[in-house]
């Protein structure tokens, strides 16, 4: 078998499914072994590349961002913001008198925007009915498999400040 086909008038299927058993093109053992070896080598290179990338990765640095004033939201109030970049929507919820939590707003299933459902006290994704715990962002029910990334907040005087993300899968 040659690697490249000569141009001919007969369609390719005529060659591959020849009427004559003598002309049938079976994959022989050597071709199959070549294929296996090359594919394995390709997978090895790919894995080495992934390994190298993970070894060379630096810890990401997060900016400090003032999200809201402490008195700005009532209990159960919600505010959306973007963190760490302008392309990452997040949601801030005041859950009790003195506590606030913030999570990435992108559902871990298909990136729909989650919202806070006050009556059930949980985060809900309307696209496929994925529910997340308000306490730690873990999945309660639905198609998502991973918890929502959490925005770590710090109280600085009278303001809530976002300092870093936790549980991001990049």
């Amino acid at each position: 078998m040659s690697w490249f086909r000569k141009p001919s008038s007969a369609p390719l299927w005529r060659e591959e499914f020849s009427v004559f058993t003598a002309d049938e093109r079976y994959v022989n053992r050597r071709q199959f072994t070549k294929f296996l070896t090359l594919t394995s080598f390709g997978m090895l290179v790919g894995n080495l590349w992934i390994l190298g990338r993970s070894l060379l990765r630096r810890a990401p640095s997060y900016p400090r961002l003032t999200v809201a004033a402490t008195g700005e939201l009532a209990v159960g109030g919600v505010k959306t913001f973007t963190y760490p970049t302008a392309q990452d929507p997040c949601i801030l919820v005041r859950t009790a008198g003195d506590t606030c939590v913030a999570y990435s707003q992108k559902c871990t299933h298909l990136s729909c925007a989650v919202y806070y459902e006050k009556a059930q006290n949980r985060l809900e994704c309307p696209c496929h009915q994925g529910f997340f715990s308000i306490a730690d962002g873990s999945v309660l029910q639905g198609p998502p498999q991973r918890a929502l990334p959490r925005v770590v907040l710090e109280r600085q005087g009278e303001q809530w400040v976002a300092v870093r993300m936790e549980g991001e899968t990049t």
């Binding site: 499914f17 009427v19 004559f20 058993t21 003598a22």
Partner: protein, 199 residues
């Protein structure tokens, strides 16, 4: 294959149908005969013709098969349809110029003569040739045919513009001008119409 070739001579056929029975008894297709058996013109004559697949060098049946179910093997035999592949579409039945393949409705599969591949591939003669009392179906060496027959073996056929060369030989009149048979010359053109069957 083992120095033997298949020769069909319809002029020798006596209509005993031994070939049909012998073919039917084969274990590879028990109960279904692969012999094509014709009464040439029942109103005028008792002449019959028994013949097998001609095993064309470039088989039309296999060329038109959409399922790659008919293969021509290295020794020149065109096999019957492969059971796992045949979809029972009848393309081969319609395409074969000799009218050899037959669709067997019970199995939804085309079945045709494979020249007793289980026998001829190990040097035995096909069942029909072993039982034919007048050797209208003969599986012998070419030298034997040349010594014992007046007729001339022919394996080139014309169907209109389609030229077909075959593995099986037809015994043609010795004085035939051309080695090729133009089938149109032998097509029946009597002056009476065939009697339509009423059911």
């Amino acid at each position: 294959m083992f120095g033997m070739e298949f020769y069909v001579d319809p002029s020798r056929c006596i209509g005993c149908q031994s070939c049909l029975k012998a073919c039917e008894e084969c274990d590879t297709h028990r109960g279904v005969s692969m012999i094509n058996f014709d009464f040439l013109d029942r109103r005028e004559t008792i002449a019959t013709a028994a013949y097998v697949c001609w095993h064309c060098d470039n088989p039309t049946c296999a060329q038109v098969c959409p399922a790659d179910a008919i293969k021509k093997y290295d020794d020149g035999i065109v096999g019957s349809s492969l059971k796992p592949r045949c979809i029972g579409c009848s393309n081969c039945v319609l395409a074969c110029p000799f009218g050899i393949p037959k669709l067997v409705p019970e199995y939804e599969q085309m079945m045709k003569c494979d020249m007793c591949y289980d026998r001829t591939s190990v040097g035995k003669r096909p069942m029909c040739a072993t039982v034919c009392p007048s050797q209208a179906l003969a599986y012998v060496a070419p030298a034997t045919i040349a010594d014992t027959r007046r007729e001339k073996p022919v394996n080139t056929f014309w169907f209109g513009n389609q030229k077909i060369t075959t593995k099986v030989y037809m015994m043609a009149p010795a004085d035939a001008g051309s080695i090729a048979i133009d089938v149109a010359d032998y097509t029946w053109e009597g002056n009476h119409e065939l009697v339509p069957q009423t059911f």
